[in-house]
């Protein structure tokens, strides 16, 4: 059983499986995003308070959710890599970080665009979610900076895994402390807890977008891990054989 698992997570095996995995994630993901975009823009009815401006949630919410999911992947991968010394797990962390940072940035930008008509300003410090998201972006930057400043891959893997694990504890604390802080300053949030529920025609596109984004994230992650694996194993025989193969390494 353990041996089987070990084989499954061996870099060459992942490299092959990953290739078949990517289209299975990417195609449904893109289809869901296409449906979600169309339905979100044309089928969903206007919000009675926010007008058309609310439609940005179809990008903002999935991006914000993935910014956290990617961090969880990073920390989880790092933890597994540290405990079981599994190389593939570290590659997951390395691959997830830039994706997570990109989604965090997207969530921040869409949040700011949304804030403009809502608050009349691009940035509102009083919003706890945006502030937490900004701190999360800095956590990603720290992770990537640490990784890139250590030359030895094995060492960089372990050091950044420790940082990701410390960070994941911290993300929770950041969330609550920022919420406390904004409650002191009469913070305004875009989503109010216990507010009016969403209509089905607004909700379904959102769900489609969330699932679509997640699948797309999975596809991008799988692809980045493949690249990462190829780079890390560049000295091994299987990569050399792959590259020197007649088809040029498909």
């Amino acid at each position: 059983m353990w041996k089987f698992f070990h084989h499954l997570t061996s870099p060459p095996h992942y490299y092959r499986v990953g290739a078949t995995l990517i289209p299975w994630l990417a195609i449904p993901g893109l289809a869901l995003i296409a449906y979600g975009t169309y339905a979100g823009l044309f089928l969903a009815s206007e919000d009675y308070q926010q007008g058309d401006a609310f439609r940005i949630i179809y990008v903002h919410v999935p991006a914000a959710y993935l910014s956290m999911l990617a961090y969880a992947f990073m920390a989880f991968g790092g933890g597994i890599g540290l405990i079981w010394r599994m190389k593939l797990a570290h590659a997951v962390g390395a691959a997830a970080a830039p994706l997570g940072a990109a989604f965090t940035f997207l969530a921040l930008v869409t949040g700011a665009i949304w804030g403009r008509p809502m608050w009349g300003t691009w940035w509102e410090w009083g919003d706890p979610r945006l502030t937490s998201e900004l701190i999360l972006l800095f956590l990603y930057f720290g992770y990537m900076a640490l990784r890139s400043s250590i030359d030895d891959t094995a060492k960089a893997d372990k050091a950044s895994a420790v940082l990701a694990l410390v960070g994941v504890v911290n993300v929770v604390i950041v969330h609550y402390s920022v919420e406390w802080w904004s409650s002191l300053h009469q913070g305004q949030t875009l989503f109010k807890k216990g507010g009016p529920g969403m209509d089905a025609d607004m909700l379904y596109p959102l769900l489609a977008m969330i699932f679509g984004f997640t699948l797309l994230f999975g596809a991008l992650l799988a692809r980045r891990i493949r690249t990462e694996v190829l780079f890390r194993e560049r000295r091994t025989r299987w990569v050399r054989e792959l590259v020197l193969a007649p088809e040029g390494g498909k």
């Binding site: 010394r85 030359d151 030895d152 891959t153 094995a154 000295r235």
Partner: protein, 203 residues
Amino acid sequence: MTAKLSASELTLIRGETCLFQDLGFALNPGELLLLEGQNGSGKTSLMRSIAGLLSLETGEIFWNDEPVSRQRQEFHGSLVWLAHRTGLKGDLTLVENLRFEGILRPQADVDQGAIFERLEISRLKSLPLRSLSAGQQRRVALARMLLADVPLWLMDEPFTNLDRDGRKLVVQLVEEHLEAGGMCVMAAHQDIDINATINRVAL
């Protein structure tokens, strides 16, 4: 495997280079393990691996037939390491340095003064180590080694910076330690003349 300290199939990869592959050795009380090789051949890395500081690609180091990784504390309580960098604080005096060292590992019940006398450092006791010569600092590091009550000595290039008397003294100290049933792992790039059972590892 019945040796006190042994290793098999050690492979260490640092960055892009493989420093050693499928390396093994065995060491018993009273024996000296000599790591031979040129500069950059991986002697220090092997020493650091034995000390448990580097994670090996493959292989395992055994102490009392038990993997070191599973009894780190016990293993570290049985060794003292004379490294290339002495690990002594230049701002502190000899006595202050050694007092701290006493907390780090088990100490032998010996006459400190006699050891200082033998190493010819007793008159330097109250000076900050910074003001001592490199050779004198090495002697302080040797004093730390003698004060520790441990069977295993790890010595990385122990003759560096020492004068002829100092080198002779190191040989004597090692011979005495081995005669008393101790063990020594030594990395050296030159030939040494020690009267003991020597196991060699060529890198």
